[in-house]
């Protein structure tokens, strides 16, 4: 009724303008840059990494980073107990630490979305049955169960990726179902049905476009969870196994030298933290950017606060 609501009727902005706005949002920009850096590190690891991550040099064992006494510019972040270059290991570790979330989230996203679509669109008994299973899975003791499974089945890249995707597919299913249900309630969907549009057309033309942005945001957010879970499992010895390397595994190995060579845990851990923070910032921004109502609300709530601060 008041003039504000009638004044800001712009529900949809061109996506080009949306992309431009990320540049103006410092936190989102930070997230994007961090991710770009890590992704390119993973893609071009052999080019970027100064040394071979598995090359041992027992003469140069446990060298401290460059800034500390005894550190050298050859090993910027020091070396481990076998004389391997920490920086090179981190750059290479990005490959596994970023592929695992990519694979797990893709698996979970595709499966979860399919299940959610089925539940949301069919409704009735099928919906009730599926959602009962999903609810039950939400009450499972997550990490502990994953540990048990990995202990029995044996950890490998694929078992790890699958176990991690088993822990999160329900999130996609629940969200997809919710989105489908609320989109089905939309008046323009009913209007389309009333002019005689077929169910397939309604699904593809009117409902599906509402799913992409939120699901993409969810996928970004869930990959942060997967990175943390992979790191924790690898740290506990049930994730990535040597000679492969991941950040969590490096921390686990460095743990034995925590008193004498703390840089062995500091830097790989920092890599995890920065990656997850970057993803979380991006997800926060995406959520606001994808939802015009939300962004208008934020604008009203905090005149010029950066949108990603909404968490």
């Amino acid at each position: 009724m008041n003039s504000v609501s009638s004044g800001s009727r712009s529900e949809r902005r061109a996506s080009a303008g949306r992309l431009m706005r990320i540049v103006r949002d410092p936190t989102a920009l930070f997230g994007v840059l961090v991710l770009a850096l890590l992704v390119s590190a993973a893609l071009f690891a052999p080019l970027i990494a100064p040394l071979d991550p598995n090359k041992q040099d027992l003469a140069a064992r446990l060298l401290p980073p460059f800034y500390a006494e005894g550190g050298s510019s050859q090993h910027l972040l020091g070396t481990d107990q076998l004389g391997r270059d920490v920086l090179s290991r981190i750059v290479h570790g990005a490959r596994i630490s970023l592929t695992i979330p990519l694979v797990s989230v893709t698996l979970a996203g595709v499966f979860g979305t399919a299940v959610g679509l089925l539940a949301g669109y069919r409704g009735g008994k099928a919906d009730a049955f599926i959602m009962r299973i999903v609810d039950t899975l939400f009450s499972f003791p997550g990490l502990l169960l994953a540990l048990t499974i990995l202990a029995v089945v044996g950890p490998s890249f694929w078992t790890l990726a699958i176990v991690l995707s088993l822990r999160i597919w329900m999130v996609f299913a629940r969200m997809t179902r919710g989105l489908v249900l609320s989109a089905r309630e939309a008046e323009y969907v009913e209007a389309a049905a009333l002019v005689g549009a077929s169910p397939v057309r309604i699904m593809l033309r009117h409902i599906a476009p509402n799913l992409t942005a939120p699901l993409l945001t969810l996928a970004v957010l869930e990959s942060a969870h997967v990175i943390l879970s992979e790191a924790a499992l690898s740290f506990l010895g049930l994730g990535i196994q040597p000679p492969q390397t991941s950040w969590g595994l490096d921390v686990a190995i460095g743990r034995q030298y925590v008193f004498s060579a703390p840089w062995l845990i500091i830097f790989p851990g920092l890599a995890i933290a920065v990656a997850v923070l970057g993803i979380n910032l991006l997800a926060g921004w995406l959520r606001v950017a994808a939802d015009p109502q939300e962004s208008a609300k934020r604008f009203a709530a905090a005149a010029d606060a950066p949108s990603a601060w909404s968490g």
């Binding site: 009724m1 003039s3 504000v4 009638s6 004044g7 208008a296 009203a300 005149a303």
Partner: protein
């Protein structure tokens, strides 16, 4: 202190709301007064600034909105001072808003919400406040108040909820009641009940009433004086009789003619072409010009100001309608 003999005096009020797509000038230089016991109707369509005006009068404009100019005086004291406004809200001026369901907290009992105002403003304890709350409920026509006080808003029907909101508004014996679309969310039979309640309370308690609505029918019975708002400005103001029967501003007249009436069957409604202006980009001149059948070049170049035309009557128009062009029902015969 600025002198004012009126209960409420608003001078040249300007309220703006910055949005991403530009700053909305919601209220643009509005001045008026309300005296004790008066009943004033403020009529306008959505976006006319009527709700903003109500909230401004209570010091309730929230960021990013702000009062960009003017003065609001309550019995001579400025309400632009937040602390003064806080002292007066609920005690001397009360408010009833559009949607009673949204107006009360869904998770607190009616009793808790009625007494919290009293224990703050009146020097009484919780127990006394509760007794008083029960009396008030009875007064607004809610049976079995003792039991009702322990219930939550969702256990009441829409009409009953609005009665509770009214009772709460009256709990500290205010001098003025601002009712912002108090019956818009209600059914017509309930609306009749609530309007009757508000009118009788106003007379019994000697309240000043400011009734804000888009519905001309609602103000016709309840208000003696009227202000017509368009695009954030008062375009005409006067007694209800004057405005309903001898409107001078073309917008007032057009509004009356485009309203269908139950008591008169017209072949055709006289619609106003176009739509209200975008208040983010206000052009000079009279805002109604693009929709006005009597507009001239002068209307585009210069803004008319409110000028008096007889006791209690003002309008802002360069080409006012003839005073004798009496608008008697049934109206709107013939083609647009």
């Amino acid at each position: 202190m600025i002198r004012s003999d009126h209960l409420l005096e608003i001078r040249n009020l300007e309220v703006v709301f910055p949005t991403r797509d530009g700053t909305v000038q919601a209220v643009r230089g509005v001045s008026f007064t309300v005296d004790a016991g008066e009943s004033l109707g403020v009529v306008g369509e959505s976006g006319s600034g009527k709700s903003t005006l109500a909230r401004a009068a209570l010091g309730l404009i929230e960021l990013p909105g702000r009062i960009a100019g003017g003065e609001i005086l309550w019995r001579g004291r400025s309400l632009l001072d937040k602390r003064a406004a806080r002292r007066i809200r609920g005690r001397e001026i009360s408010m009833v808003s559009q949607d009673p369901m949204a107006s009360m907290s869904p998770i607190l009992t009616i009793g808790a919400q009625m007494t919290e105002v009293m224990t703050r403003h009146l020097d009484i304890g919780k127990k006394k406040a509760l007794t008083r709350a029960g009396d008030l409920l009875e007064k607004v026509g809610i049976p079995d108040p003792g039991r009702r006080l322990g219930q939550y808003p969702f256990e009441f029907s829409g009409g009953m909820q609005q009665r509770v909101v009214i009772a709460t508004a009256l709990s500290c014996d205010p001098m003025m009641l601002i009712a912002d679309e108090p019956t818009t969310a209600l059914d017509v039979t309930t609306q009749a009940q609530i309007l009757e309640l508000i009118s009788s309370l106003q007379k019994d308690l000697g309240l000043a009433l400011v009734l804000i609505t888009h519905d001309l029918g609602v103000v016709a019975g309840a208000c003696d004086l009227l202000k017509v708002l368009y695009a954030g400005q008062i375009v005409e103001s006067g007694t209800a009789d004057q405005l309903f029967h001898r409107p001078r501003h073309p917008y007032t007249a057009a509004l009356l003619r485009s309203t269908p009436r139950l008591d008169a069957k017209a072949d055709r409604l006289m619609a106003i072409d176009g739509h209200p202006p975008d208040l983010r980009h206000v052009a000079g001149g009279c805002s109604f010009t693009p929709r006005c059948p009597h507009a001239t070049t002068r209307c585009v170049s210069a803004s008319p100001v409110l000028q008096p035309s007889g006791p209690d009557h003002e309008y802002a128009c360069w080409n006012p309608l003839n005073d004798r062009a009496v608008q008697e029902p049934p109206m709107g015969r013939g083609r647009a």
